[in-house]
Amino acid sequence: MKILRLDLIACGPFTDTAIDLAAGTEGLHIVYGPNEAGKSSALRALRHLLYGIPERTPDAFRHPFSKMRIGAVLKSARGEALEVVRRKGRGSTLRHADDKTAIEETELQHFLNGVDADLFATMFGIGYEDLVRGGREIIQGGGDLGRLIFAAGSGASNLGVVLDELQTDADTLFRPTGQKQKINEAVGRLKQHRSVLKESQLPGQEWARHDRALKTAQAQKTGVEEKLGIAQRKLNRLQRIAEAHPVMARRREILKGLEAVAGAALLPEGFANRRTEALTRLRVSESERDQALAALSNLRMSVAGLEDPAMLLDQAEGIEELHQELGSQRKAAKDRIALETRRNTLRTEARQILRSLREDLTIEEAERLRVRKPEAVRIQELGAEYERIATRIESGREKIPEYTRQIAGVEARLSALAKPRPVDALKAALALGEEALPLEQQLKSVCTEKQALRQACEQSRARLGLSATSLEELGRLQAPAVETIRIFEDRFDSLERRLSTLAEETRKTAVSLSETGHRLEEVRLEREVPTEADLEAARKLRGRGWGLIARRLESEAVSADEQQLFVRSFPGAASLSAAFAASIDKSDALADRLRREADRVAVKARLLADQAAFTEQVKQLGEELAAGRAEKAAAAAEWAGVWRPLSATPRSPREMRQWLQDFRTLVEKASEALKRSVQCEALQAEVDGAGSELGRCLEAMAEPSAVEAETLSGRVKRVRSIVAAEEQLGRQREELVREKTRFENELESASSRLQANEGELRRWQKDWEQAVKPLGLAADVRPGAANAVMEELKSLFDKLREAEVLQQRLDGIERDAEAFMRRVKALASAVAADLAARPADEAALELQRRLTGARQTQSKRQTLQKQSDQAQVKMQQAAVAMAEIAAQLKGMCMEAGCRLSDDLPEAERRSAQRLQLEARLRHENERLLQLGGGTAVDEFVSEVAAIDPDGIAGDIERLKEQIQQISAEKSELDQAIGRENAELSRMDGGDRAAVIAEEMQSILGGLERDVQQYARLKIATRVLNLAIERFRQKSQGPILKRASNRFSRITCGSFEDVRADHDPDGNPVLVGVRPGGKEIVPVEGMSDGTADQLFLALRLAGLEHYLDENEPMPFIVDDILIKFDNSRAAAALQALAEISAKTQVIFFTHHRHLVELAVTRIDEAVLFVHGLG
């Protein structure tokens, strides 16, 4: 992340102040503010921007909490930009640049790469205090490498402090051998409580028993105490008197003794000691003087008795040389025997070898047998060549039969293999068959389609009632046009309408007719309404009667039947006259009624007219209806005629319209089905053609031409496998033929090679004869034998040469021995004539022994001389001491008032006796004063003297016994009372024990808390140390390398290097190295400033190490250079400038001179200075 701009909108002393940090790749940005300009506020603002403004902040003195705002433009490593404004508050404190809409914190965190506030402050911030603390840690931690690497990698400058605190915190809680630590103390308290609890708890005993026992004991005790008082007082008095008696006797004795030493001088303390010491010293001095004298005379005698060794000592060098040489002489003598033996052995062996080769030659003549080097080499080469040729011939002879056998084998396999049949025709047919395969597939699908279509047609046909018609005929059928159907439809419709109208009218007329009939019936039933016809009929009947009467009157014959007929027309009339009268009445009555009931008559007449009209109408309608129906039947017949060609029975035109549509679909489908059938046949013909071609070819090859139900694809498959099998057979044959040819070639070449080798062998034989001739060997000798002879010869000449060398050494030894003997003789004759005749080695030894003796003598003489000098000094010292002591003794005699020192002991004794007696008298007087209980001594003495001493002892004894008895009684009672009291006091139902148990629980509660905290601290320590070590192992290399470089530059070359080393305990530590590697500086030896710089170097190295792997974060530097001198400050700024290539560096400072330094020393492309206030 990079901060492009920091907007101090309202915080601390700032109002709308922007710091533009966008310049540079990342850039070293120095933010300079003199004191009071708000540098610290700006620094805080930067952190608060990213992580929120804390509840309590010192930056709200100008702007109130609610108005505080810090803004920024940020850019992530991925190039995204974000502009934010931070306000102070409790939630949603992050806003967009408009200061209105909130931004999720996660959006900002996206820019922070998981670096939280603490980590940012620690890892990406460094201030002066960190630097000092880090430097201090380096020195105090002794350069502990792990801690330094960890601090560099985390920015934690207080690592040592953390570890110490963890330890201290744990130590305050617990130490294995401690007492005062919280846990130790709690455990101790628990232990105490446990025992107190045990004491406080009471066993269940009977309260009454204790109570009773207590009361009895208390009463008894009162009596016993009284008795005891009386006896005690008596005893005291007697005891004092008894004690006074011996005191008085001793006093008398002392007074007597004092009289005897009344005049003695009182000598001071230590007088006797001083005297004894002086006398002792005197005696010591005398003795020393005497010893010195005696020693002196002895020494002088010893010196006189010693010989003079000068002559031998003069020749010491020669003697020692001989003695040293003696050793090598003796060794040479011993070697000589071994050398002679060896030489003789070699000569004997040489002779033996020679004899085995040539018996005729002596050892001296052996030289004739020596073979020259080239000849020997020639023989060896030929030997090796023979081996090669022989091997080749042998392998050739083995190979020839092998090849022959393999050829026979291949031929056998070849003849066993069947001859392949020709398949070219079959393959051609197969190609055709394969081409036809898709046709077969197509045939299948066309057939299926055809089948489906036919089925659909059958169904439609059945539905349309055309089952009798074949599909082929369908197409030919003449179906009526739709228009025809419509005409018929209209016609039928109009006919139908007419018929239904007629039927309706007929029905209505019939109803009217029947209604008219009903009403006529009603009129009739109401009372027969006479009609004109009735009157006419009645008048007619009357006329007929009148005729009869008239005839009778006229006496015409009137048949009885006529009469009878007339009479019967009037029931109740017995005679003609009566009947005639009745007929007159009736006609009159009718005429009257007709007149009277004229309305009713009219109604009836109308009804009757209506009835007649309706009846007529019905008749007419019936005719019309019949005509309509006939017309309809004709239309129907015509309609049926239309459909006859289709032999379909037509239903209504409307239905037939649908039918026609279905019919047309059917016709289409049928034609489609027919088309498919044709296709099917064509395809089938093609497929069959291909199949039969294959069949013909198969027959030609005597394979079955067709297998039952074999499809074309099945046959093609079968043919393919036949073709493949035949071709496989062909390939196998070819393979075997190739193999046979190869073996035949091999055989031929093997035979010719064998011939060549045999020629070679013959040539070799000639060369070999030439070569072995000098060895005296026959031409047919084998190379092995020739080599053995050459070996023997070599051994022979080796042995002879070695024997020669040995002989030369033996001669040398002989010469040396003689020279040595001569030198011994010469020396012996010079210093010890008695040795001249002795053998040289003995003489040399004796000379050496004598020389040693002479040297000892010389050393003894010197010692004796030194001792006699010392004895003389001692004698003089003793004399001086003796004189001093004599003077001291004289003074002491005067003090004691005596003449001689021998009298001093007596004077001392008397003085001491007087002193002692006086002291004892004082003591006895004091004792008497005590015993007398304050009475004056003399007075008490006379009182005691008056009492008989013999009786007292008895009285005292008796009293004592008595008191002892009473006391024992009392003590028992006291104990009993105490016991009972204690028991009872604990049996009051109190809660002492319970309270203790509660306290124990409280201690346990605290203990649990402390123990857990202790566990946390211990685990933390362990884990932190593990992490330190692990991080060191991982990152030590890269961090140290960078730190070393930085440190060297920041110290301006004062140090060349820092590197890992080990302290005396073997722990890895960091040390500085001076230029040239001459001087190693442990961190304790660095100045505070240098240690600070070392910490800075490590921190920068750690940061760079982090940046290798992670996205950059701005590095905030707070005035760390104030204690650096100018050159080191410049170097440190340069380091920051370099870091700024990887991440933005923001350097806050109060110091003008640092800014100036930066401006003069740092590349301006990297450096950007911003002023505050």
């Binding site: 805080r44 804390p54 509840e55 914190e105 996660t106 965190q109 790469n113 998981g114 670096v115 603490d118 980590l119 620690t122 890892m123 911030g125 960190d130 990698g153 985390s154 934690a156 207080n158 953390v162 605190e165 617990f174 294995p176 846990i183 455990v187 628990l190 446990r194 406080s200 708890q201 009471l202 066993p203 269940g204 604990r986 049996m987 009051d988 139902g989 109190g990 809660d991 024990a993 509660e998 124990m1000 629980q1001 409280s1002 346990l1004 605290g1006 203990l1007 649990e1008 808390r1009 123990v1011 857990q1012 905290q1013 211990k1018 685990i1019 933390a1020 884990v1023 991080f1031 990152s1035 750690g1102 792997e1109 992670n1110």
Partner: protein
């Protein structure tokens, strides 16, 4: 119409377990809690003028040897004797183990039922039959109720029994019996003891655990006391729970979810505390405070748990005075998801190492070995019934490690955090 009291599991003089005293804690208020609860029982009996008192076992703690406890009981019973109130007691498993029970001479108004067989007690002028049998040994595993006599006709029959019934979690399975068997006895009321949690098992007949009279540790939460039973007249039997406890154990869960800082959590505790005080105004509440939830204050809290426990306690002292005691503060918070990103560099190494250790039981035991010196010094009492010390268990060690993590990070990064 008469009333009686049914109580059980008094455990006189047994202390409240592992209460860590802190500055300002109401130490005096927890003293002798079981005794004061028992005094409340006696006072209730006197105030309510009950006809008799039933104690269904466990008057004492089994391993408690102080005879004074017995004497104290006798003195309290004396008050009931003066009021003419008889007391019926069966010995429970703890009483059977107690030396006090064996040697204590009880006042004549206290009737302890025999242990060898069930017995029935009657009272003058009251048609009540109390049937009961004591525990003769600390572990009675037979069904004592089986031999209880049949109900006395015309009487109100009470069964006094110390039992686990058909098993209750956290309680030894002593004198097991079935509810069917109890029902079949034909009694009117079964006064049960042994289970410390109050419970009405049946209403016809009444089968009731009165619970203990005073909670003694963090798992015995809520009000504790006795049953005041009213019988007779035309009314049906009525059951009235009377709290007697003087110290009440509570669990106060603080949801720290969304809290920004440690002090926000403390403020939330303040609110929870007032609710708790309002709920139990008359007794001392001993609260275990559980802080839970996903919060940005996680690191701050975990970095110094002791400090925040003290903050919480100080609020308790301020607001609750003598009415509340914070027993323990347990942190179970989680960091917000966004904060889980792990930094790189040395600190990342430390965090990765901790993750690795936490997943490796062997390595965890290795950490546990750091505590072996301490382990040797810890006394027997400490190990009894503690879940705060398991240095040989990887799970416990992993928990410790998760607490160590923020503490360590905070100590390492302790820099201008507050600026």
């Amino acid at each position: 119409m008469f009333k009686f009291i049914h109580a059980a599991d008094i455990h006189l003089d047994s202390p409240l377990l592992k209460l860590d005293a802190y500055e300002g804690a109401p130490v005096g208020a927890i003293r002798g809690a079981t005794r004061r609860a028992f005094e409340n029982l006696v006072q209730t009996a006197l105030d309510e003028k009950v006809a008799f008192v039933l104690i269904a076992g466990d008057l004492y703690d089994g391993d408690w040897k102080d005879y004074n406890t017995g004497l104290y009981f006798v003195s309290q019973m004396g008050k009931l004797r003066e009021a003419g109130i008889p007391v019926f007691v069966v010995a429970g498993n703890h009483d059977a183990a107690s030396t006090i029970t064996k040697s204590l001479r009880l006042p004549e108004n206290v009737r302890l039922f025999p242990a060898d067989q069930p017995a029935t007690a009657r009272m003058k002028g009251l048609d009540v039959a109390v049937h009961g049998q004591s525990f003769g040994s600390p572990a009675v595993t037979t069904d004592l109720s089986r031999l209880y006599p049949p109900a006395v006709p015309g009487c109100f029959n009470i069964g006094l029994l110390h039992t686990c019934v058909n098993g209750r979690e956290g309680h030894a399975p002593y004198a097991p019996c079935t509810l069917d068997a109890l029902r079949d006895k034909g009694y009117d009321y079964w006064a049960l003891g042994h289970v410390h949690q109050r419970e009405v098992l049946l209403e016809n007949p009444w089968v009731v655990f009165a619970g203990n009279t005073q909670g003694r540790h963090a798992r015995e939460t809520g009000p504790k006391g006795c049953m005041l039973v009213s019988v007779g007249g035309s009314e049906p039997l009525s059951l009235d729970f009377r709290p007697l406890d003087v110290v009440r154990w509570e669990v106060a869960v603080i949801d720290a979810g969304g809290a920004g800082r440690g002090y926000d959590v403390v403020d939330r505790f303040r609110a929870t505390l007032s609710a708790l005080l309002a709920r139990s105004p008359d007794v001392l509440s001993v609260a275990r405070v559980l802080i839970d939830g996903e919060t940005a204050a996680h690191d701050e809290l975990q970095a110094d748990p002791e400090r925040w426990a003290n903050e919480i306690r100080s609020v308790a002292v301020d607001e609750g005075g003598d009415h509340v005691w914070v027993e323990k503060v347990k942190l179970r918070t989680r960091p917000p998801v966004a904060k889980l990103a792990k930094p790189d560099g040395a600190l990342g190494e430390l965090l990765s190492l901790m993750d690795e250790l936490a997943a490796d039981p062997e390595a965890l035991r290795g950490l546990g070995s750091e505590l072996s010196e301490l382990e040797k010094k810890l006394p027997r009492e400490f190990r009894e019934g503690t879940d705060g010390w398991r240095p040989d268990e990887p799970g416990w060690l992993a928990g410790m490690l998760s607490e160590v993590r923020p503490m360590l990070v905070q100590r390492l990064l302790r820099k201008r955090a507050a600026e």
